[in-house]
Amino acid sequence: MTPSLLIEQTLNGVQFGIMLFLMSAGLTLVFGIMNFINLAHGSLYMIGAFAGAATQAATGSFALAIVAAPIAAALAGLVLESALLRRFYGRDHLDQVLVTFGTILALNEATRILFGLTPLRMDLPSALAGHVEIIPGAPYPTFRLAILAVGLLVAASLYVIIMRTRLGMWVRAGASDRQIASAMGVNVPLVFAALFATGAALAGLAGVMAAPILSVQVGMGEPILILALVVTVIGGIGSIRGAFVAALLVGVVDTFARVLLTPALGGMAIFMTMAAILAFRPKGLFPAHG
């Protein structure tokens, strides 16, 4: 592998990792703070992608699609949360898994009925459709650089909000000890609903950012949900910093394993990584629950 190819593959790995981070950020927030396993996070990602593609098809505007997707996902999240999922906050993980599993099946099938069977697509505006030669001899797709930028922006904003604001203090308190949040006189149902909607909006954003490079189809949420769960668990549930590090790790490991190992081993690589990390750090790299 030549040095420039090595750099390019590292960039590919980092970029894939950032995409996983966009997906994992919302998942780890809801999981860590509300102690709620939301398997339907993948469905919210799918809703974001479909909303984006449909908005672009209707209006022709890429920018509008990018804005509409997180809003649609957040609204869908709010409806789900208030109508169904909030009853499950106090119940054990198993019931949460089951109810969100049922939700996935129903939402997938509803999307299929609504949008038909052929996958949708989302086109890039010409400014983002090209490529930039940041590495000599290896033009890099502009849009992938845009994903990188958006991911870093989201990571930075979440970091600032969580480490530097009062809201963030509650969140950190909630993540390390769930009793405290309510003891502090916070309107817990409202905060939880807002948090869930934020997580959903992040999933929707991830969905619409993935839409131009991936097939917008029913069931698109599940493969990426698995990867996001892997990231969340490796990073330590509830830790944004952990999710960021783990996402980059998974992205880079997956990229190089695919290129360097046999296909069967390449497919296993991230799972082997996860098993190895959890064997030695049973609560992930950055355990939030102490």
Binding site: L98, V99, G102, V233, I237, A264, G267, M274, L278, P282
Partner: protein, 338 residues
């Protein structure tokens, strides 16, 4: 709960599983009466997945461990039967041994192999807990799955057809009725065995560790050991279920080991009720019959299936077993209280 003494089987606890087994045992008679032998195939599938779900629930309901690698262990059992039958059919020895299509040999071997795999997975996975355990077992499931795909000699992703007829000792069990009763005997044994285990000192300790780990350690229970033993027993049993599926269908493939099949087993268990030994068997029956009936009505059956799952979780906290017990026991409870 932790200081509950082991208690003997009460007839009221034994009634629902007895009804379940009796209903299943009557299926072939009904099938013959109405001239629909396909019912026996459905019942066989119900029985096999009941074994798997009951086996899973041994660690899930009583050990508090949500495992997502049971489909992988299920498949290991299936592949043991499939590979041995392949060597039997192709008259190619496995190292120094002959292959075999005799379940009297391959079933125990399947149980042993799955149990060993479970021991390896469990020894590492049980260092973690909660959602971390769920995910590390998912990782091991994926490794077993990709491992099966890598078995190019035995069909890889295509799966492995069993060409020879399976027997049990001197008995030919390739006939569907005989095979069904064989599976039913295994299910009954599984229910009895897990029932005994749950009520034993071992089971009490296992449940104690699940409910309050700190207290369990304080009274001298090492949860890791108890959980590992339970995990190995559960893995061996689920391997037997996988072996039976492979033998009954004369086919085994990596798809049997995919992680969503692990998820299906969890859904069956929770649907039926994880608080009682027989609950998951009820869940498996409902899951399989619903899937078959709904999917023959409409290609959008997963919408109805998903909503039904949601409805059951919302309304019945103890799964369908609650419903069964509520119907069966309501009057008696009233009487007892009154």
């Amino acid at each position: 709960m932790a200081d509950n003494p082991p208690h003997p089987v009460r007839w009221r606890d034994a009634l629902p599983p007895a009804i379940l087994i009796a209903t299943l045992a009557a299926t072939p008679l009904v099938a013959t009466a109405i001239g629909d032998p396909f019912l026996v195939k459905v019942a066989t599938r119900v029985v096999i997945f009941s074994i798997a779900a009951v086996a899973l629930n041994f660690v899930l309901g009583f050990g508090g461990l949500v495992s997502l690698c049971h489909a992988g262990l299920f498949g290991v059992g299936g592949y043991v039967v499939g590979v041995l039958a392949w060597h039997d059919f192709n008259a190619e020895p496995v190292w120094i041994f002959h292959g075999t299509s005799n379940l009297a040999i391959s079933l125990p071997l399947a149980a042993m192999t799955s149990g060993l795999a479970a021991a390896a997975v469990g020894a590492i996975s049980l260092r973690t807990s909660g959602p971390y355990f769920l995910m590390i077992t998912l990782a091991f499931n994926q490794m077993l799955y990709y491992g099966a795909i890598a078995l190019q000699k035995y069909g890889g992703e295509d799966g492995l057809q069993i060409m020879s007829d399976v027997s049990l000792g001197p008995f030919d069990v390739s006939n569907r009725y005989r095979f069904f009763y064989l599976a039913l005997v295994v299910l009954s044994a599984t229910l009895l065995l897990t029932g005994r285990f749950v009520r034993s000192r071992f089971g009490v300790a296992l449940r104690a560790a699940a409910q309050n780990e700190t207290r369990a350690i304080a009274v001298g229970i090492d949860p890791w050991v108890y959980r590992l033993v339970a995990f190995v027993i559960s893995g061996a049993l689920v391997g037997v279920a996988g072996a039976l599926l492979a033998a009954g269908q004369q086919f085994v493939s990596p798809v049997d080991m995919s992680w969503d099949r692990s998820g299906d087993l969890v859904v069956m268990a929770v649907l039926g009720g994880i608080g009682v030994v027989w609950g998951p068997a009820l869940g498996a029956a409902v899951f399989i019959v619903l899937e078959l009936v709904l999917s023959s009505w409409t290609s959008h059956w997963q919408l109805a299936f998903g909503l039904l799952v949601v409805l059951i979780v919302v309304t019945l906290r103890g799964g369908l077993a609650d419903l069964g017990r509520a119907l069966a026991g309501a009057r008696r409870m009233e009487a007892a209280r009154g």
